[in-house]
Symmetry: C2
Subunit: 528 residues, 2 copies
């Protein structure tokens, strides 16, 4: 087996031993995993960022094609790590082997899709306005504009995606695609997985003849390393997926800097599901079964897990609740990502259960095994009045939990929807005249969600140009961007204009002969 | 003459008298202008925002074509105000009549260009990915994405553009184009101009049959009204042009909200001009003349005024400085926008003059007339070592001031460039081999500027798709957006996705038959 060393990587070099170490613990059995991991020091943070800044001066100029080659090479080197990666990620995260294997495919797919995006090249949004020297009253200058990378970017590993949103995940892939260099903060739950993937990235950088400073990976179990990174004056942006509390702390630190920087924190979401009357009546069993799969998938540890279901009360709702109850009861407990997430899940469930007017609808027939860090599917039910009164019912509980809310009237249903904060997703089940009958409700929903799903479930986030994964606060700190899909690259760039430059001093994307053959806006008209 | 009433407009209705009033003062003679203007109360702020929120529910659905009609109507109603508007803006701002007339044309041009942009419709960046129901291992859903408006937006009037960046200026025009409603905070220097333009906006709203709540305009001489607006929970974004201190205060307030909102503050900039050796030698007189025009245009009160000129020292630089000196001496003092700006200008000049190693190169042969709120063109000179040592030489001085800095070596010139913060613009004068010889310097410049200008001057901001007016902090609070040009509309939107919706429940922009004929990305390919 590959021997892990437990050190951070700064521009490809291992950091020296540090007095502070930590071990990953396998949630599968609670056991400590070897080796000890050395936490990065403040000096390590500074070195990593300075290397990223130096490397940026080279990396930002190599062009999209060379960057695409790097992304493809990273994908290949990750696959080249073989089964050792799958095994370690499984041990560290408790996620099943097939899930990890699928996530590796997604990770490589993301890398290759960003490679394809930048190899094609039109993503830079090139705009050219030719000069009109004899325009009256003043001549029009030659002006050209395209996206340029921001600089060194910090990426924080996510607990629930040890591959797809960690070391070489979507944030890293999109930042490298944009021409930024990356300093990665590995998640404390899966440092070994991070080390392996970082090794693959360095192999790819070497293969492509690029400076190792393009990428660094730092360990740190708490928030000290993250805070030092977000405050470093040379850092120009940060990507994060995790809790609202941690995300907001990073956002606040970034906003308080002498020069504020953008923070893209994808945080909590209830992902409400609205069951409209005809759909509830016509598809009772299918919706109950679908909801069960969606809220327990990945042991409820997806940011798009539906944690809230709202409908009008009555016989159809009761029939639905009954079928859903049976579904939940037959669902097994399963290992969660780590002890802290598991404890938070049960604490959250206890908090909801303590609210007067909330009752347990269903729980798994089997009890969770604490030694295996298991969470146990559970569903509660309450009425809209109680839901509106108690803000604690509107806090995300990460894990296999959901809450069914029945409203007495449409007005009450809309009032419940109105008290929702921003959401990554909102789902509507509607048949027949439902959509036409509930336009006011749908309007309230649209204002609050990044993605609105009809007659399906929110889990399963497609990686494609029309995906929006990011919603009004607190779903994310910046609803104007997405963290999934090709548009995720837009987080790491700013537009720059060149005025009056000769052809040979312009980037290729802005030259009249369009050597890259990209789609551009020339004098207001889109053309290749 | 049109009789001004001096009240704020909330959804078209005048606010009642308030105990706090202020008068505009004409900088032309220091005289108080009638009438008294009533400052908006906290209650007025709340009412205006609630009307904007209510109106948003209607306005966001009327479609781009109806919104384009509104923008065109506003432009026509502004022209319809006639000479009274020109006169009042002249009295309040001290800007010459022909400048105000030109600015009115620019204001109407901006409104019409945003109207044209949204009438064409492709700006929504529509993306469609069709379903693949039989995809393995999981079916691909039908997913569609486009830009949607954020909600009620606050626009702050700018001192230096009483028309083009105030009541119906670029921020208002782009926000209305995007589908947002607007609460405008009039600048305390030109409240009468604001009242007149607001009247034109209401006439246009009435003509178009749209709710008056789409627009409100509040008076307030200090920062109280602005702070109340940026903290209001229903406000979803803010646009500002002005000083770094005021812009940062708004940014900080917005970031500290329970739900942070974007603030687009376009703030200070030195707009450095680099004179490279061949250009300095070959075009000494032309550069001296051009620089004089640029730094004194509009009495130096443009955000793109070149306040800093850097070059290698030596005989060519000395010859240039001498020619520039003559140019400055023959330039007349002129009336500045208001007493506060005039006082700040002279205070800033005094601060620079007090720095050891800085000397006066030239000042106007005529003294400024304080009764006419005049500023007097002045240029200083220093060496790069002094410039690098003294951060006060890197603060913007708004007005007809500039500083010439001579470096002994290329290394010193680059070091001086490196200590610059973010800039709206950076200008390079380069002939012959200059560009090739100074690639390191140009690289440093590119990192720091939103727009790089070659062999011209930064004043004169073209309104077109390839304009980038916004640079790294503190040039603006968000370098990823522009406040001038068609892309300014992107500040007021977020992307939203619809998954699995039937054709008749989708916005027209996302329907398969593309009724608006816009350019869209369908299954990854751009097509109409």
């Amino acid at each position: 087996m590959h021997t892990l060393h437990g050190h951070s990587f700064i521009a490809g070099k291992l950091t020296s031993d540090s007095p502070k170490t930590f071990h990953a613990k396998s949630p599968l059995d609670g056991g400590e995993l070897l080796p000890a991991f050395h936490e990065a020091s403040a000096e390590d943070v500074d070195h990593a960022v300075r290397h990223a800044e130096d490397a940026f001066e080279i990396y930002r100029r190599i062009g999209d094609v060379a960057r695409a080659d790097l992304l493809d090479a990273i994908a290949n080197k990750i696959v080249g790590l073989g089964d050792i990666l799958i095994q370690r990620a499984h041990l560290e995260s408790g996620l099943p082997l097939d899930r990890i294997t699928g996530e590796r495919a997604r990770t490589c797919g993301q890398l290759k899709s960003f490679a394809a995006l930048i190899r094609e090249g039109s993503w830079v949004d090139a705009r050219i306005d030719h000069a009109i020297p004899d325009r009256s009253p003043v001549p029009k200058p030659d002006l050209r504009r395209m996206r340029v990378p921001l600089g060194p970017i910090v990426v924080m590993g996510a607990s629930n995606f040890p591959l797809a949103f960690s070391t070489a995940g979507g944030d890293t892939a999109s930042a490298l695609a944009a021409g930024c260099t990356v300093i990665m903060k590995a998640h404390g739950s899966h440092p070994g997985t991070a080390e392996l993937v970082a090794t693959a990235i360095y192999r790819a950088l070497e293969k492509c003849g690029l400076p190792a400073g393009v990428f660094s990976m730092l360990h740190g179990a708490g928030s000290v390393v993250a805070q030092a990174l977000v405050k470093h004056p040379m850092v120009r942006g940060l990507g994060f997926t995790g809790s609202e509390r941690a995300g907001r702390a990073l956002f606040d630190a970034a906003a308080a800097r002498p020069e504020p920087i953008p923070v893209f924190a994808e945080m909590g979401s209830l992902n409400p599901v609205f069951l409209l009357p005809s759909a509830l009546k016509e598809r009772t069993a299918a919706i109950a079964a679908g909801l069960k799969v969606s809220f327990t998938m990945g042991v409820g540890q997806f940011c798009t897990k539906p944690g809230l279901v709202l409908a009008l009360g009555g016989p159809d709702f009761d029939a639905f609740a009954e079928q859903f109850r049976t579904q939940v009861q037959s669902t097994m407990p399963a290992t969660m990502l780590n002890r802290s997430i598991c404890d938070s899940f049960f604490a959250g469930v206890d908090k909801v259960q303590a609210v007067k007017g909330v009752t347990v609808l269903a729980e798994s027939n089997l009890d969770a095994d604490s030694a295996k860090t298991q969470g146990e599917p559970v569903a509660f039910t309450t009425d809209a009045e109680t839901f509106i009164l108690h803000h604690e019912l509107r806090e995300e509980i990460f894990g296999p939990y959901t809450l069914l809310v029945s409203a007495r009237t449409v007005t009450e249903l809309i009032a419940a929807a109105r008290c929702l904060a921003g959401q990554l997703t909102a789902t509507i089940h509607a048949d027949g005249a439902d959509l036409a009958d509930f336009t006011d409700l749908i309007s309230v929903i649209e204002r609050r969600a990044g993605r609105v799903v009809l007659n399906a479930f929110p889990t399963g986030v497609e990686v494609c140009p029309s995906m929006q994964h990011g919603g009004p606060y607190p779903a994310s700190t910046d609803a104007r961007f997405t963290s999934v899909g090709s548009a995720a690259i837009e987080r790491w760039v700013r537009p720059a204009s060149w005025q009056g430059f000769p052809q040979d001093a312009l980037p290729p994307e802005l030259r009249d002969d369009n050597p890259r053959g990209i789609l551009r806006t020339v004098n207001g008209v889109q053309t290749r």
